[in-house]
Amino acid sequence: MELGRKIAQALEAATFERVAGVGLANAEVNRPRIARSVLELAETPLGTGDTAIVVGAGPSLRRRRSLERLRASGFAGAIVAADGALGACLRAGVVPHVVVSVDPHPERIVRWFGNPALTVAPADDYFRRQEMDPVHREDELSANRALVELVDAYGPKIKVAAATSAAPAVVERCEQARMELYWWNPMYDDYDRPESLSRRLWNMNGLPCLNGGGNVGTAAWVVTHAVLGRKRIGLVGIDLGYAPGTPYEQTQYYPELVALLGDRYREAFIHTENPVTREVWFSDPAYHWFRDVFLEMAREADCETFNCTEGGLLEGPGITTVPLDAFLESTVAAGRKERTNG
């Protein structure tokens, strides 16, 4: 078996090791700020119909100008974005109904909301290196300032589906921008086990536990279906892979792979041809695991999931691949028919 796939098989347990401790600690810190369950979002008007778009921060978002096309379409369904895609959405003129945030990292994630406290470029090179939002690569401080202004302006129109694991700095920033927070617990382990952390959390705060799928984009899809009850879900920017030509140095886990594998780090990347575009995208073990998990969840879900990314690596049973414009046109047409019949 390829090295990358072998490592991917270990990532369910590895993710628990990575996030459980800090996630639970954040749940304790966030506890006094928890006012609403995410289930209340199900009773809140968020767009019309049973269709939604989930926006991830993958490179296809820019390559395919997905957000600009979404905006131009007049799409009236719910728009749910991963936190990493919030900046791209607002810059494109799309204000998501809901933003999902899960990552417990104490400093990085607040940047996706614009960090008003950032005055000098940080030593952490994550935003200069990451491939998700290149705007932050070019001029970190200017990009951050512009995002602060956008989030301050549109924050009151955006609801945040916040995992209790979310970094307190993110929670503070959302409150400052007058974004309403709706809370849920990440499912950490099998709640049927008496010593389960998920069960312990539920006992502590009574919030539902959502199976997060490894990353915030997948968690956004889970919120859209399992909480908002949407039955037709289109995906944009959920690539679960790196675009052709992306330098390995700009991939999410490059430093970690080098630390683990040394000179052999290249062997951890898995290259796959997209069957529609015929482009060769690639994943690292984490993205490969995210993809496997998404496919497993989508197969079992009682909804239709449409991959409208026009790129990426999310292909398989349970996923229907369709161009974004076709998905949007069918949704607009269905809405028109519904209004006529109604």
Binding site: K157, C209, N211, D302
Partner: protein
Amino acid sequence: MPEFLKGNYKLAASIEDKADAADSTDEFEKKALSRLGGSICFVSKKGLIWQGEAQPAGGAAAAGEATARTASRATPENGDKDKAGGAGTKDSPGA
């Protein structure tokens, strides 16, 4: 291992305890792998949502015991649902 190496002489080579070495290798791999993990867990063979002991019929998005418990524990800060309209686009905020 060390008890078999006791004697009235000194060894020129240092003896490595392989069990300890294996443990530390495992520990290193575990730590290194954990840095490759995701930002949120996935629990295989479980559903998308668990709402506590008394799962309400209707599943997704249904209000149930857990919701009621949460609502009863929570103190809405400014929970005027009508106030916060939907989003959409900048030109046409709200749904």
